[in-house]
Subunit: 591 residues, 2 copies
């Protein structure tokens, strides 16, 4: 049976030795000292491994069930959800005014990784609620916030995001769902939405749907889309639940994975809705929350890779098969453990260096979100806006790949559902698709984010890498990490220049290389993270850490990333520089 | 609903324009002219798309069922199996003496791709039978051949291969299954085998299990393993079925995919078995058939990529979403089809260039097997032996990746089982594992095959590439294909040299790079295939082909492969040259 142990030590290393949280100037960060975060992470890790992880295969096997309009979640989910609520986890980084604990987003991200690793399908119920509540927080009226947020922060009521329709996903301008204005200021919502995660279930008293729809007579296309609050049960003035609204679940989808989460077809049949934010500005309201939501999905990539890696590692140490080619390592046993074999190590090191580098990247991104939201730091806001598609696209692509590699360590057992490795791969697969498929992330990065504010943010990124390299190079022992990072960063700059020069003449020259650019950027970011972790490890060793093995392992893993993963930037650059012609040459009919 | 159309035109191009089959000297090739293979491919394609493909989702959804020791295959499988038998497909490349059609293996591979693409789980029943029959053909006594082969060639009786036990997969020396000699010359087989594909089912009168077991008192480890024929029903002297043997299916595994194939736990409880080949030489007997079996698995990688690509392409042409950035392409519609977008094309071109290049690689490999078996060509035998791990490992890794990319074209719909794209990825996943996990293929390549016969075969490969480049460079228009191939081949040679030099000092220096070497080799082979296809396309265009679009498309796809895929060789080389240290640095305890 698979198991999960929260990587609290690694998380502490990143939060304190690398990001030096409590020395930060972001409001709330001074409280995040080592002991405080240790206590929080310890508690979160406990519930993740003891409560959520055992339910993960249950959710996969049992799935959700729709009967007479009611969706039943898998056995045990409801009790676990109650426990999460009682312990206040859903509101950890929500405002105290609405019952949250008001902690920084970076801490929510850290514990969120644990929950998501232990049980992605389960954690989505509160994740979606978080996203919906954040949207109401940012765009709702005072009355709307009062009506919904107390309950949503506590997860007594959960939330959803309704964007996709059968004929439109990425291109939401094609949307058909209608919102007809009523005399009392409300709207009647009519239409069908699909792929609605947590759209209907039995774990909350009420479900607050956020629904994109068009007000008749508004602008064509995406500029005519508005956002509405559509509660499953209407809410009376005193806050009690009123009559059932005209919204229902028509179907639960059969999916490749995340079976524990109900992915619903939602039918709106003249349902009462309330405008959230301005009319026709629905996309803007949705996008306010996109950086957070996409970072959350990137986190799922790392989280699934982490639990898959943990189990693959345990199996590699336990399973006896073959002998070490350089000499027997387990003479008492009939064979040596798998981990003696170089190719098994190659595989495990790829997983390990990805997971730890990706985790650092995510948490760094979360500190930028905190700086933007809590300190109004517009530079941080610009930088995280630039890097959001990289976090989402690169970390979910690689996260999925790593679950597949972890599965491979098990040989045939990896393919058998009983061992649990298949579920990690099947669950991780969705993260490459939802919240904007990864090809759309690449398009956002190259088509929009690179040139945003005159290219200011990407220049800031390069300056940051440059000044890091300059200062780090002065530390003894950092040369071996700084040099490959410099080379990789140069590849990224060269690719950026290519886009600027060629993209002016032909946008396809840039867009044909967008996916490679997203991955190139991701490698540079993980290279930067590994260099920063190496720097922190060297500092700890110099200061006489009481855990030298831990810090030496960081250095060895950093070396692996530099030697074995970062060279990928050269190939991405070569692909990019081949331009549009190889990609666009064929007529559609000749494919 | 997904669909499948057999790529007969592409297959004909490879067989005749590239491989020039009927001009070959291998016995049987002279008969394989264009019209003859066209007729065969047409018929095979018809049954694949009309009979097997519609059953593919049925097999996935319904799976197999074990009731009171009887395994029921999914609805429709049995009738389709009968139809395949009636049309003689299972024995197409088996000897006429035993009721086969005696055609070359290359033709069996060509039609096998169609069947496997249309329904991998179904096709495995006859694939396993083919493997078992081939083993009896190579190692059986005259009486054994007479007793089993007529029925097996017809698929009236099916076959299995029993290697794995719960505690041993790759390391078969740990095997516990026992074979105790009986007075009548037979053996009593006792033990448990797992992951036995087609181990029990309702489509054949009898099942002939080939079982590896140890005769007590024999040599330790892998040298004490023998191979046995263990029929489900014992066979009387007159060929009629006798009593049920002591072998039974204890369980069907729940797997990630290929649900239509029964993966069985097989319990041998003093079952009567007959030695096949020499005692204690069981592994040698098994390995005789390995090149074929592994090529067959590599084919599954290409086949699943093909059907996934076909459906992704159709969806990309059909689904309207967004507008072409260079100008509206579908002004009458609400949006342009997905295929106008550069990143969708990048994705589709990666699929297309892999599938067509991989198909050529496979068929070329099949001609080498024919040359080895039919002409006793030892050079061909050495070359295919070298390339077998590349065919198996590279084509199944990439094949799976391509099914994942095809799924991605569908966005959210790709994750919903109803659309069928998930099944291709789930089914393709197993090919990376069975017949030797891909890490073991890499080990076989670098640890064994490279140095085989003094490195003669890899030198022959390099000479072949070199002389191809030299002669092709004389053709107008070939320069753009020859140059990248030369560079890639040089990377491969450099990697080989590195292994020779460093591997002498430290075997881990070579083995740490084995996986990258396997992929590097695969890219060079596909580069060679694309250069050969380009040469054939240029020749056809020069000769005034009546289908210039087809041949120009080959040139454009070859250009894509050279520009966008082949540069990967540089990264593989860089990883290899970083040596063992980054991979092996950590103690197991510090992971």
């Amino acid at each position: 049976m698979p198991s999960y142990t929260a990587p609290t030590k690694d998380m502490q290393f990143i939060l304190h030795d690398v990001l030096k949280l409590s020395q930060g100037t972001t409001p709330g960060y001074a409280d995040l000292d080592r002991d405080f975060t240790a206590a929080i992470l310890e508690e979160a890790g406990k519930i993740a491994s003891e409560v959520l992880a055992p339910l993960n295969p249950v959710g996969d096997t049992e799935g959700c069930r729709l009967e007479n309009g009611v969706v039943y979640t898998p056995p045990g989910f409801k009790a676990a959800f109650e426990q999460m609520k009682e312990n206040g986890w859903p509101g950890i980084d929500m405002p105290e005014d609405f019952g949250g604990q008001g902690m920084p987003y970076v801490l929510g991200t850290a514990v969120g990784e644990f929950f998501s690793a232990a049980n992605q399908a389960f954690t989505m119920y509160q994740g979606l609620t978080h996203g919906a509540a954040s949207t109401i927080l940012a765009h709702g009226t005072k009355a709307q916030k009062e009506t919904y947020l107390h309950k949503m922060v506590a997860c007594d009521w959960t939330g959803t995001m309704n964007l996709t329709e059968p004929h439109c996903g990425t291109d939401l301008g094609l949307m058909r769902t209608k919102a007809e204005p009523q005399a009392d200021g409300s709207y009647k919502i009519t239409g069908q939405k699909i792929f609605i995660s947590a759209g209907e279930h039995d774990m909350a008293e009420n479900i607050i749907h956020l629904v994109l729809a068009k007000i008749p007579g508004g602008p064509e296309g995406i500029k005519g889309v508005s956002l509405f609050i559509v509660p499953k049960f209407l809410v009376n003035e005193d806050g009690s639940l009123g009559p059932r609204n005209g919204v229902s679940c028509g179907k639960i989808e059969e999916k490749m994975g995340i079976h524990g989460n109900a992915t619903c077809v939602m039918n709106y049949d003249g349902a009462t809705g309330y405008l959230l934010g301005e009319a026709h500005k629905g996309m803007r309201a949705m996008f306010t929350m996109m950086n957070e939501a996409r970072l959350g999905v990137g986190m799922q990539g790392v989280a699934q890779a982490e639990i898959a890696f943990q189990n693959a590692l345990a199996y590699a140490k336990d399973r006896l098969q073959g002998r070490d080619i350089t000499g027997v390592k387990n003479p008492e046993g009939p064979a040596d453990p798998l981990i003696v074999h170089p190719d098994i190590r190659r595989n495990l090191m790829e997983q390990k260096s990805f997971v730890e580098g990706g985790r650092a990247f995510l948490l760094w991104g979360a500190t930028l979100i905190d700086a933007a939201h809590r300190s109004g730091d517009t530079d941080a806001d610009g930088l995280i806006s630039l890097m959001t598609p990289v976090i989402k696209g690169f970390l979910t692509d690689k996260g999925f790949d790593m679950t597949v590699q972890a599965q491979q360590v098990y040989g045939g057992h990896g393919y058998i559902e009983e061992w649990g490795m298949s579920q990690y791969a099947r669950d991780a697969r969705i993260a490459m698709i939802y919240e904007g498929a990864n090809g759309v992330q690449a398009l956002d990065l190259v088509g929009r984010k690179l040139a945003q504010d005159g290219g200011k943010h990407v220049m800031a990124f390069f300056d940051m890498v440059k000044s890091f390299c300059k200062s780090a190079a002065e530390t003894d022992g950092m040369g071996e990490f700084v040099e490959p990072l410099k080379r990789a960063s140069k590849d990224l700059q060269t690719a950026g220049m290519y886009f600027m020069q060629e993209g002016m003449k032909n946008p396809n020259a840039a867009l044909s290389g967008s996916y490679d650019f997203m991955h190139l950027f991701g490698h540079v970011c993980l290279g930067l993270m590994w260099a920063r972790m190496a720097e922190a490890a060297l500092a700890a060793l110099a200061a006489g850490t009481d855990d030298p093995d831990f810090h030496r392992t960081k250095l060895a893993t950093a070396r692996f990333y530099m030697a074995r993963q970062l060279p990928m930037t050269a190939t991405h650059l070569a692909r990019i520089q081949s331009g549009a012609e190889p990609v666009m040459a064929l007529d559609a009919a000749n494919f």
